[in-house]
Symmetry: C2
Subunit: 217 residues, 2 copies
């Protein structure tokens, strides 16, 4: 009781209390990821966050809404990183390497939520969830496509290529690596299984320079 009162005093400004909400999102992410949507109980999430169940429902109206908020938060986290990376200046190949490595790093360091999102995407339930997931994720995707388009109009990238296909190819490479990183170890002649960052860079080497033979450095 005394502890609760103390916690109240620590937040001085901001209309809605940030600490509890954030703690809640973090715990929810971990538990949803560990047990899946159905397997996770609001009671466990509340306990983990050291908050009463009712408070959870006060912040997020329902289990579903909490779940969506978890995913949305993860996407927005990456959106921030994305902005930082794409705003930089420098040679295009270096910026692409930077993007690819940051993206790889992001999905690996948030592996639980990444698994969650991938699982969610796979069951194509036409509920509100997927709609929102797609809306949220597509914002990041569009940001990357715009970046590529922009570079094309400035003649910095090959204009003949479809920017959305290029963007998706980049993302595919990272996601595939992420999903199968455990078994990739057993591919003969594949040196990158436990070196995600070098792999991300090698992918950009392929996609930026192209497989075509006429390379002159």
């Amino acid at each position: 009781m005394a502890k609760v009162a103390t916690a109240h005093e620590t937040r001085a400004f901001e209309t809605d209390g940030i600490p509890a909400r954030e703690r809640l999102l973090a715990c929810a992410a971990s538990i949803f990821a560990k047990r899946g949507y159905a397997g996770a109980s609001m009671a466990e999430i509340a306990a983990e966050a050291d908050i009463s169940k009712s408070t959870v429902f006060h912040h997020f109206g329902s289990k579903r809404a909490l779940y969506l908020a978890v995913i949305e938060t993860a996407a927005q986290d990456f959106a921030a990183t994305l902005e930082t990376v794409l705003e930089k200046t420098g040679p295009l190949d270096e910026r692409l390497v930077d993007f690819q490595c940051q993206h790889m790093g992001h999905i690996l360091s948030n592996e639980l939520v990444t698994d969650l999102v991938l699982r969610e995407l796979q069951k194509s339930q036409s509920t509100e969830s997927v709609h929102l997931v797609r809306d949220v994720l597509s914002a990041n995707f569009m940001r990357l496509v715009d970046f590529i388009s922009e570079a094309q109009s400035q003649k910095l990238l090959n204009e003949a290529l479809d920017p959305s296909v290029a963007a998706l190819t980049l993302i595919s490479a990272n996601v595939f690596f992420f999903q199968h990183r455990k078994v990739l170890k057993h591919l003969p002649n594949f040196d990158y299984a436990d070196r995600p960052q070098p792999y991300a860079k090698a992918v950009i080497d392929v996609i930026f320079h192209g497989l075509d033979r006429d390379r002159s450095e």
Copy 2:
């Protein structure tokens, strides 16, 4: 009964009876894919193939073995296609487009088994299963890597790139498209959601020519 006897007579050589075995594999593939490994019952598979349970166990010693055989068969099916495609002559970009389209077509027309394989790869259970799966799949992967390496030594492809990374990038693009084809429809500015073959071609455009600006047709 008469039909079965006839079938027996048609096979003159080969130690194990082919027609029943094939029918069995097809039914098993469909049922494993529909119900998952645990959910599938040997009784249902036997019934579907119009074969007695004992016959199933005669051909494949166990449920696990049947399951593995299904996956192995799918991989070998593709190995045949792969050989046909890679043996062709012609400009490298056309051959790569051919490969990418054939591969896309293969995973789409075998979508149930593809889902099965992908699910199997994701749970990295270190049992015999995964070992075999990896061995089988890696044969096809190596075939593609060898093809790229070969082309590189003949100066037909950019020698600076890692052939296994290039191969994996190709496969990643198709698999990602396959896994998320349902939700890709909802990406704004993405025209390929229901056009897998054009997408496969567009991916090769990107990976063959590269994002780099200095394209001179």
